[in-house]
Amino acid sequence: MDKISNKYAVVGVGEYERSRKSGTTPLQMALVAARNALQDAGLEASDIDGIMNYSTGGDSCTSHEVATYLGARPKYVKDISGGGSSTEMLIGDAIGMIDAGLLNTVLIYRSMNGASGQLVGRGYDPNMLQNALPGGSFIIPYGSASPSQWFGIFATRHMHQTGLTKEHLGQVCIDFYEHAQRNPKAHLNGKTLTMEEYLNTPDISSPFNIHDCCLELDEANAIIVTSADRAKDCKSRPVYIMGITPRETHPHAHYWSDLDQVAADHVAPALYQSAGVKPEDIQVAAIYDCFSWVVLRQLEAYGLAPRGEVGDFVAAGNLKMGGKLPTNTAGGMLAEGYTHGMNNVLEIVRQLRHEYKGSDRQVEDCEIGICTGWSGPDLAGAMILGN
């Protein structure tokens, strides 16, 4: 086990209501999410001495602004450009700084008007994209500028190699939509999905149709991380970080040069070693789900389903509540909301606290959960949490 194992904990989580039109700014939403996380932890703003956030193309507000209007006076603020796996990376950074004695308690947030404001991957100048993306001149002239297309190329090959079918992708969507029906805060609460409806929906980028793609919403999430010692003084039940691999990379910056490997493949060995557990010990999962297929590929990468048999694993109902590995139990990014992975972390924390005890949302007696981040095939991070 790693030297940081179980020495740090998530003590507070909070969010701002999800919608297609917030009618307010990312700063306002971030403040509400942060205050909710503070209240959840039973902490005051003055207890926070580090604030970190990630944004995509300036779609958020700065940590310094949040500190100011929260009434905190942190020693340290950090704003990074990021997306998937940035939650895990910033939690790793926070742990490192607390471990070094530089900070005590860190607030991490993600706030974006992802539906009504600036949209990810739309409205960019093609020449800017050619320069900004690694190997941009080799994809942009071919009309390839959307993650749905990039991941579609990976998915097609993976399906060819392993016999995964469109029905297997659909099963992921159907299971997560079903979980959203148990979660009043899920954006798609009230909207169910059958296999027939799924298969009758035309593709956007094969093999993906609209149900395979995450929701783009206006929302904010916040997390508070501190040491296990300080966690004892908090109001909430601490959820300990058993192990973490904050971020790993694909070997090649032009990751589409090799469609057979993804960064998540490189995360798992170090992750399980740091946590001192095996894949079969995991009882509840939050798997980054910007697209249905990335869930299947990650279940293989993290050893949660055997390579080549993940389709059977999913078809057997293992991702459902009551299944072998209940996954994205709040609906995930396909059906609850999308803040580049942070909402999935909130859910794992709440499951491990047994916050839903007595309702059909609680994964009974779960003690160990995994949370993964995926920033495309190029970057990945993950952590294992325990109560």
């Binding site: 020449n127 050619q130 009309g143 500028a145 097609t156 090959r157 980028s205 094969s206 910056a253 040069s257």
Partner: protein, 143 residues
């Protein structure tokens, strides 16, 4: 192939890392990068070898008769960039060169119906003249 007078799609931008590739494309030839230290062929090209880090990379001209095998594809039913709205669905396909399978190149697959695309199908490179000076490598099914 006819020269189009008005090309609305993005045109490949040449820079220090990719210029020989696109210059060769304009002449309807394929040039790929090779590492003199570990002897790998590299694509997309870059400032050094991604396998061993060596800066001793050079270019090799593979000529105009390029045969390859399709390794994966996506069929795009929505335009995500200007110019693509008129030829949907667009097939974006990666193929591995038959002589140098490490080199896998992403192009559109032309002259092929979406229902006929298959991983493993033989393809060959063709060059689409997009302006008077520029040409874009593309795949088409082998005759």
């Amino acid at each position: 192939m006819t020269i189009q007078t008005k090309y609305e799609k993005p045109i490949p931008l040449k820079n220090e890392d990719n210029r020989p590739y696109w210059d060769a494309a304009d002449r309807h030839e394929l040039e790929v990068q090779k590492c003199n230290d570990c002897k790998s062929y590299l694509h997309p090209p870059g400032p050094a070898c991604p396998k061993c880090g060596s800066a001793a990379v050079e270019w090799e001209n593979l000529g105009s008769d390029i045969k390859a095998t399709l390794s994966s594809y996506v069929i795009s039913y929505r335009p995500f960039l200007p110019g693509f709205q008129n030829d949907l669905p667009t097939i974006i396909a990666q193929a591995a060169l038959d002589d140098k399978p490490d080199v896998r190149i992403l192009c559109n697959l032309l002259e092929c119906k979406p229902e006929d695309v298959k991983i493993g199908m033989p393809v060959q490179m063709t060059w689409q003249d997009i302006t008077e000076e520029r040409a874009l490598p593309q795949w088409k099914p082998t005759d």
